[in-house]
Symmetry: C3
Subunit: 241 residues, 3 copies
C-alpha cells in the first residue's frame, strides 16, 4: 500500500485526477489530489510560486502524511521539486509526469519555448488578474489530441485561467539535486504540450534528474482525461520501490 | 462523414492505398486516391513539381470536392503543401504522414541526407528518362522492414521508377505558413526511410508546421502495405476536427 | 530455420538468454548462448577485448556454425562487430540489440557518458581484480525499471563483476564498415542503460551502421529477463532475410 499525493498542472485543479484516484484505490493504494493555491475555479489568482509550494507542503503536513510518493504533472513538477526541499523526510519517491524540472535559479518560463513565452505574456497582460487562459486550439491540437472533439470540449470546461506569476518566479532549488529521494520520470510518448525536440519534455527534463527511473505510456499530455486507468497503472510502476 | 484525398509518395501510385480506402469506407468516410502526374507504371515521367501539384489540384476541382481532409505521404507532403496554397477554400485539414514539409524556397532534395542525394543523382543520371529506381536493399531494410521477405518483394512489384525533377524544383511556399487550415502530422515510430535523428521525419518536419496535431502509430514507412487498417484508423484520428 | 548465436553484455553471462532460447526453438530455430571470456561467476577476469572476441569466434568455429545470425547485446555489440571481421563468411546477419557499435580506433569507454566513465574507473580501481560491480540502484532504476523489486533483485543475483580492461581496449574495426553482411538494430524504446539523448543508444549507435534494419520493442535494457518471449520474437524479425 502506497500513499500517493498527485499534484496537477497549470489550468487544472485537483479534480483532474478524479478518474485516476479510484483506479489507484482499486489497486490497493491511497491517493490524495489537492488543488494548488491560486488554481481552480473561483480561486484567488494573486499567488506566486512560493504560495503554490506552501499549499502542497501544508496539505502533506496537516494530514500528517509520510512515506509519500509525490507526483507532479507539467507545472506541478516545479512544485514537487520545491516541496521535496521542504519536507524531504516525508517523501519516499518523486514522480515527474511530463513535468518541469527547473534548474537551480531559473523559472518555469525559462523552460518554455519562445512562442509560448510571448503568448502567455500577452495573454496575462490582456487579462484583468494576471492570468493566462489556454486558447482552445492549442488545447485541442497540442494537449489533448488523442480525444475526440466532444471529449476535448468537455475537459476544456474543467480548466480555469492559470496564475502567471508562478511561471516567472525564479526557484532557488539549490538543495534539490542533493536530495537522496529516488526519482522517476513518466513520459507520454505522444505528448506535444511542449514541442518534441529542442524544447521537449524528454529527455530534456528527465535528463536533469540524474539517476532516475523512466516509465513511458502512449498518449497525449492529458491522458489524465483520455486514459486515466492506464495512467494510474503507470504511476504505480513509476512509484514502486 | 469526411472526404479524404490520399496522396501517395515517390515510387508509389494511387493503388498503394487499395487496402486503406475500404477501411475508411467501413468507418463511414469517402476516400479518393489519385495518382500524381508522372507517377505509376507507364506514366510519362517528364514532369516537374508543378505538374505533380496541378494533377492533384485538378482532381479536387474536377470532382468538385470540398471540406476535404488532404493527406500526403512522404514526397506527397510537398505536393499537398502546394495544393493547399492553390485551393485552400476546399480543404478542412492537412495530414502529413511521414511527409516532407519543405521550407519556402527549398526543394525536396534539400531535405534529403547527403547519402540519398548522391545516390538519387547517380541513379537518375544513369537512367534513360531521368528517373530513380529504388534499390531493393534500401526498400527491404529501411522502408518496409516490418514485412516478411515475401511481402516486401510483392509490394516492391507495385513500385515504379520515380521522376527525379520534382525532387529538385524549388517550391515557393510563401503562402503556406499563412494558411489557416488545421494541420496534423502522422508519425510512424519505426519509420527509417529518412534516418532518425538529424535528418529524420519527426520532429524535424513536424516542427515546421507550427501549431499542429501529432498522431503516432507503430510501423515502418510502408504501413500502407503492412498495416493498412491501423493506418486508416490513425488517418481518421489525424483528420477529425 | 535460422541459427542464432546470442552474445550477452557486461555483468551477464550466457545464462541471461535462458528464457529466450526456448522461445526461439518453439519458433523453429536453433539458438546458442555462449559466455564471453572473462564473464560469468568464477571466470578468470584477467581478459582484454581480444580475448572476448576470440572466445566467441572460437565457439562459432569449433561448432562449425555457418549462416549464423549473430546478435549482441550492449557490450556484446562491440564483440560481434569484431567477430564479424574475423569470420565474415560464417555470418548471415548481425543484430545489435541496444548495443555498442564502436567507431574504428575507439574503445567502448569512449562511448560512455562521463558519469559512467568516472564511476567505472573508480570501481575498477577499488576492486581487487580490475572489475566493475554494477551498483544495485543503477541496475534497479536505469537497467531493469520495468520489473518489480523482487524480480529486479532476483535478476541481480545472476550478475557478476565485469572485467574493466575490455572497456578500455581500442578496437581497430577498420574492416567492419566494408563488410557486406546485412545489419539490424533492435532498440528497446524504454532503454535507459545509456541515458536517452546525446549519449543514447538510438540513433547514435544505430546511425553508425549505414544501411540497416531498425526493429523496436517496448521495455528496458533487460527485457531478456522481463519479456524474453517478446525479445525472441523481435530477434526473429531483426534476423530474418
Amino acid at each position: 500500500m502506497t500513499t500517493f499525493v498527485l499534484v496537477h498542472g497549470s489550468w487544472h485543479d485537483g479534480s483532474a485526477w478524479d478518474a485516476v484516484v479510484p483506479r489507484l484505490e482499486e489497486l490497493g493504494h491511497v491517493a490524495h489530489s489537492p488543488t494548488i493555491a491560486g488554481h481552480g475555479k473561483g480561486a484567488d489568482k494573486a499567488v506566486g510560486h512560493d504560495d503554490c509550494v506552501r499549499s502542497i507542503q501544508r496539505f502533506i503536513v496537516d494530514n500528517d502524511l509520510s512515506d509519500v510518493v509525490l507526483a507532479g504533472h507539467s507545472f506541478g513538477g516545479s512544485v514537487i521539486a520545491r516541496v521535496a526541499e521542504e519536507v524531504p523526510g516525508r517523501l519516499r519517491r518523486l514522480v515527474f509526469w511530463n513535468a518541469f524540472v527547473p534548474l537551480p535559479g531559473t523559472s518555469v518560463e525559462d523552460d518554455l519555448p519562445p512562442s509560448y513565452r510571448e503568448l502567455f505574456a500577452r495573454l496575462a497582460g490582456e487579462s484583468a488578474d494576471n492570468t493566462v487562459t489556454l486558447p482552445f486550439p492549442i488545447w485541442r491540437e497540442a494537449f489533448i489530441q488523442d480525444a475526440d472533439l466532444d471529449r476535448a470540449k468537455a475537459a476544456y470546461q474543467q480548466l480555469s485561467p492559470t496564475p502567471y506569476q508562478p511561471f516567472l518566479d525564479r526557484l532557488d532549488l539549490s538543495r534539490f539535486s542533493r536530495l537522496e529521494i529516488p526519482k522517476s520520470y513518466l513520459n507520454g510518448t505522444d505528448d506535444t504540450a511542449l514541442p518534441p525536440g529542442e524544447w521537449g519534455w524528454h529527455p530534456r527534463m528527465s535528463g536533469r534528474l540524474g539517476l532516475h527511473r523512466l516509465v513511458q505510456l502512449p498518449g497525449s499530455h492529458e491522458v489524465v482525461f483520455t486514459n486515466p486507468r492506464l495512467l494510474a497503472e503507470k504511476i504505480v510502476h513509476a512509484g514502486r520501490d
